[in-house]
């Protein structure tokens, strides 16, 4: 009766498209999902990393990791399939 969605199935459907990953801390990564394993280690293509600048709380450092990457699943907290990344100035820490 309840057609519930299995989380890992949803990730599987996202293979081939963009995915937005929120890590345990303040870091976020957007990339094209190539695959994953039981531990949700991820292979991402054309990944871009967004992290707060350690020197200046208001800045976000955007790093383009130009090759395919293996992202360790240890600190992956949230996955947004089809996600395009943090909207302008709205990573978890907001400007008060």
């Amino acid at each position: 009766m309840s057609n519930r969605i299995l989380p890992l199935e949803l990730i599987d459907k996202a293979i081939g498209s963009k995915i937005w990953i929120l890590m345990r801390g303040q870091t976020e990564i957007v990339g094209t999902l190539r695959g994953f394993d039981d531990y949700v280690n991820l292979v991402l293509d054309d990944a871009v990393e967004y992290s707060p600048d350690p020197r200046n709380n208001n800045e976000i450092v955007k790093t383009e990791l130009q090759s395919e990457i293996l992202l360790n699943g240890n600190h992956v907290a949230v996955l947004v399939p089809g996600g395009t990344g943090p909207p302008e100035d709205s990573m978890a820490a907001s400007s008060s």
Partner: protein, 127 residues
């Protein structure tokens, strides 16, 4: 003679080394899908999820598995104060349909039956 540390004596193959107690279940970690948290009851209702590291989110529970990986619909994340990440602000951002990793989940609670109250701590002066 099997080289097994536990010697449960049931003579099954080498892959039963883990079964310390001879409970008859073969010492499997999760035979049945038993969970102390009955997420099936919360399906399609609004839930609040908190994660390790301080993230807090709210949305509609669409799915889960035995490892407490969750599928949350219309998810919004509550934003924290930049200078003090333990402080939740009243700002939030929409995430949409998301998967939350069970390894990072610290709390899942239904919104039904909860109500938000005025902040009881506001009267205190900053230390």
């Amino acid at each position: 003679m099997k080289n097994s540390y536990n010697n449960t004596g049931t003579g099954s193959g080498a892959d039963n080394v883990r079964g310390g107690e001879s409970s008859g279940k073969g010492g499997a970690v999760s035979q049945k899908k038993e969970s102390i948290l009955e997420l099936q009851k919360l399906i399609n209702s609004s839930v609040r999820v908190k994660c390790l590291g301080g993230r807090e989110m709210r949305g509609i529970l669409r799915g889960f598995d035995e490892l407490v990986n969750l599928v949350i619909d219309d998810c919004e994340e509550f934003l924290r104060d930049k200078n003090d990440l333990t402080q939740i602000t009243d700002k939030s951002r929409k995430l949409g349909l998301v998967v939350v990793r069970g390894t990072q989940v610290t709390l899942v609670s239904p919104e039904e039956g909860t109500e938000e109250i005025a902040n009881p701590f506001l009267g205190e002066a900053d230390a």
